[in-house]
């Protein structure tokens, strides 16, 4: 064999392991080639998603953050650069403070309800031994999620109606003064929160259910053999092993709460006045009701910054309480 212009006998190549090395290199090159081909296939598979993401998510985000919020764009007239005017307008917007406060109120009510009640429901359902009953409850709690928000909001709207709603009917029946659920600044937030909890609690419930079902039975059996009672199993095994799911649910719930739109939009239209309007509704109103796309973009950037900050704080804090080492 000729290597580097020198003729080398075959037995020398074998005895010095050169042929073996060459073989290894050849195999490595082949592997690399295969890997590259597989990568190319992978890239092709994700190409439509990347294209979709770029057109409908990345470019709009970049435009919003770096362009639109510094303009007075109104959809039908050309955008004009106005510097920080949109950010200054936040301080004179009569509704900005109220809608931010409303959003925080919704979060403080709905988030704990989803996070805690969803967990309680999941624990209760997993403790049911009868598989048919378990299936029934699983379907029941998840069912509201698969129904269109707009359609069930109409039903809830009738239930909350002051004059002929079933809720006020029962309040009257028990001698309690009925309330204007949807048209009172005092009650509209609660009405929307109740509807939201009913509609979306199945989401958290499902995540918890999957998390609980993923806990190996052997851990619980071992603990039972060692004499652990239900409370000890819950707090010593189930909850610690569920912390990654819990963390995920908290993140998702908070993000969803910050973006809350459907429930107040369909149930109260944000009223009375702006008493149940959220920041997401305010963005929609400014952008597509009043065509202040520039200002709506500014509001979007503010919301994005808040959600990002809250998520980062949670990511930082999770190191202190989330356990991933049970596997």
């Amino acid at each position: 064999m000729i290597l580097g212009g020198t003729l080398i006998p075959l037995d020398t190549l074998i005895s010095e392991g050169i042929l073996k090395n060459m073989n290894i290199h050849f195999k490595r090159d082949q592997k690399l080639k295969n890997a590259k081909a597989e990568n190319a296939i992978g890239y092709l598979f994700i190409a439509p998603s990347v294209l979709f993401f770029t057109i409908f998510v990345a470019i709009p985000i970049l435009l919003t953050v770096f362009v639109l919020d510094f303009t007075n764009y109104s959809l039908i007239s050309p955008a004009r650069f106005i510097g920080l005017d949109n950010f200054r307008a936040l301080f004179t917007d009569p509704d900005f403070g109220t809608v931010m406060l409303n959003t925080l109120k919704f979060i403080s009510f709905i988030a704990p309800m989803h996070i805690i009640l969803g967990l309680v429901l999941a624990l209760a359902v997993t403790s049911i031994k009868n598989k048919y009953l378990m299936g029934f409850f699983r379907t029941t709690f998840y069912f509201p999620l698969v129904v269109t928000t707009a359609s069930v909001a109409i039903v809830w709207g009738f239930m909350f109606d002051f004059n002929f709603g079933v809720i006020d009917y029962y309040l009257r029946l028990f001698g309690i003064t009925p309330v204007h659920w949807l048209t009172s600044t005092k009650w509209s937030l609660l009405a929307v929160a109740i509807f939201s909890a009913w509609k979306f609690i199945g989401n958290a419930f499902l995540y918890y259910l999957i998390g609980l079902q993923n806990i190996p039975d052997s851990y619980i059996e071992a603990a039972s053999i060692d004499g652990a009672n239900g409370r000890q199993i819950l707090f010593g095994i189930k909850l610690p092993m569920l912390t990654p799911t819990l963390f995920f649910v908290i993140i998702i719930t908070l993000i969803n709460c910050f973006q809350m739109f459907d429930e107040p939009y369909f149930l109260t239209k944000g009223g009375p006045g702006v008493a149940s309007q959220t920041i997401a509704m305010h963005i929609y109103r400014k952008g597509f009701g009043e065509f202040q796309i520039g200002y709506a973009s500014t509001l979007g950037v503010i919301l994005f910054a808040i959600v990002l900050a809250v998520t980062f704080i949670q990511l930082y804090l999770q190191k202190k309480w989330v356990s991933y080492d049970y596997e």
């Binding site: 092709l44 959809l75 004179t92 709207g157 004059n163 048209t183 109103r285 065509f291």
Partner: protein, 472 residues
């Protein structure tokens, strides 16, 4: 095998990408197709030199026409009327775009039209309520049609002569005409006659007053059984009628500032808020509107134009009587008109103008307004309104024009922002969440802020256009 797999993957990826790209290319494709079947321009006016006209070749021009819809498609009769148009103009084929409004009025419809324009899906011809005239003209979206009217005086003259000049002037901005009104609704008092009969009351006379209303309200109210004298207006257009009737208005006379906290307006809002407290009117709920309350017989009186007769007829409610508004300081009501306008972006201005002006003629008006809404043409109204049989005393709708007992709705180009302010404080006042004066003072501040921030008010040319808008 591996190569085959790669080829399949590439083919799949390309097809998926193409389908994604195809999602956004509707307009281009459609326009290209439409243009492909049409001939070059021959009769296009000077302002649209780039427009291909089709009449010369006899090929069909497809025109997109947007209609304010209540969510239902056109009835067969309504579709057929366009067949009549196509018979008259075989080279033009209208394509309908039914646009619903999530706000229940023209504002929501206009929002969607604006979004369509921004998205490159603008119709060629669009139905337009008076609310949007200033905005459409000031954003250079609408095309004047004076040349067409001038050239077709023989054909259009008999139509326009029976449209009250003031109603037509709503569509004239800075001396240019943008549409011929086909519809003109005036807000009047609608009365459920059965409820009046039950209470042993006579129908009110034309000169009835707010004191008369206050006197009969307790007799018509039984809140424990869900029966009320009247429904407070939830549509600001209708509420504006009551403000006018008391000598008030949301803006000052030249529309340069708010006037919502005037003593006259405060008086009206306090009357409505008190009516809810006294059980004469139900507090509005999002789940049911005031027209539905009327059809259910739960309120005896409501204030709307003829557009609600459609709901009455559909619900089998026939015993309806209409009368003037109750007299307060004056008895003026709120009215307005609607017309089809031609959009500047159309490629076929001549054909679009033909279609837009045709909607003011009898065939269209009779078909679309047989059951609801008031024709702008008084001659047509006199034929169409009595034919339906509902309501009684329908002349009350048109008398307001004959007696000049009306004012147009005040709609500057900032109508959408103002609409939100009005709606917000109407809700707050009706829900008794704030004293009327305090609420209207806040509303006034917000109106002033809308004007201060308005881009329209910063340009002298636009201010001139606002000045030129018809105001009465």
């Amino acid at each position: 095998m591996k190569k085959l797999r790669i080829l399949v993957v590439i083919a799949l990826a390309i097809s998926m990408m193409m389908s994604l790209i195809a999602c956004g290319s509707g307009t281009t494709t459609q326009n290209a197709t439409t243009q492909a079947v049409t001939a070059p321009a021959s009769s296009a006016p000077a302002e649209s030199s780039n427009a291909p006209a089709s009449t010369a070749s006899g090929e069909k021009v497809k025109l997109k026409i947007s209609l304010f819809s209540d969510g239902q498609n056109l009835s067969q009769t309504q579709k057929d009327v366009f067949a009549l148009f196509t018979k008259e103009h075989p080279n033009i084929e209208p394509e309908f775009m039914y646009i619903t409004s999530d706000t229940g009025n023209w504002n929501g419809y206009l929002t969607k039209i604006q979004t369509m324009i921004a998205g490159g899906q603008a119709p060629d011809v669009a139905g337009l309520g008076l609310e949007g005239v200033a905005m459409m003209v000031m954003n250079n979206i609408a095309m004047p049609i004076d040349d067409y009217i001038q050239a077709h005086q023989d054909e259009l003259g008999p139509v326009t002569k029976n449209i009250p000049k003031a109603l037509a002037d709503i569509f004239v901005v800075d001396g240019k005409t943008y549409g011929i009104p086909y519809e003109a609704n005036s807000v009047v008092t609608n009365i459920n006659m059965d409820r009046f009969t039950e209470a042993g009351l006579e129908m009110p006379k034309a000169d009835w007053t707010i004191d008369d209303l206050k006197a009969i309200a307790p007799k018509l109210s039984d809140p424990t059984n869900g029966k009320y004298a009247f429904g407070v207006p939830t549509n600001f257009f209708c509420l504006q009628a009551l403000l006018y009737s008391n000598g008030g208005s949301p803006l000052n006379d030249d529309w340069s500032a708010g006037a919502i906290n005037s003593p006259e307006n405060i008086e009206v809002f306090e009357f409505l808020q008190d009516a809810i407290k006294k059980g004469w009117a139900p507090q509005p709920e999002p789940s049911i509107n005031d027209v539905q309350l009327m059809t259910q017989g739960r309120i005896a009186i409501g204030w709307w134009g003829r557009w609600v007769t459609n709901d009455f007829v559909a619900s089998g409610v026939k015993n309806i009587y209409v009368q003037n508004l109750p007299k307060m300081k004056s008895q003026k009501t709120c009215a307005g008109s609607a017309a089809f306008i031609v959009l500047n972006s159309t490629k076929y201005p001549e054909e679009a103008k033909t279609l837009a002006t045709w909607t003011a003629k009898y065939d269209y008006v009779n078909t679309f307004m047989a059951k609801g809404s008031l024709p702008a043409n008084t001659d047509y109204a006199a034929q169409i309104c009595p034919a339906l049989g509902v309501p009684q005393n329908w002349q009350a709708y048109t008398d307001v024009y004959a007696q000049n007992n009306w004012r147009r709705s005040q709609d500057p180009p900032e109508y959408a922002e103002l609409g939100f302010v009005y709606s917000k404080y109407m809700n707050i006042i009706y829900a008794n969440q704030m004293p009327v004066k305090e609420a209207l003072d806040k509303a006034q501040e917000e109106i002033q802020q809308v004007f201060a921030n308005s881009q329209y008010r910063k340009d002298p040319a636009n201010l001139k256009l606002i000045d030129s808008l018809f105001k009465n």
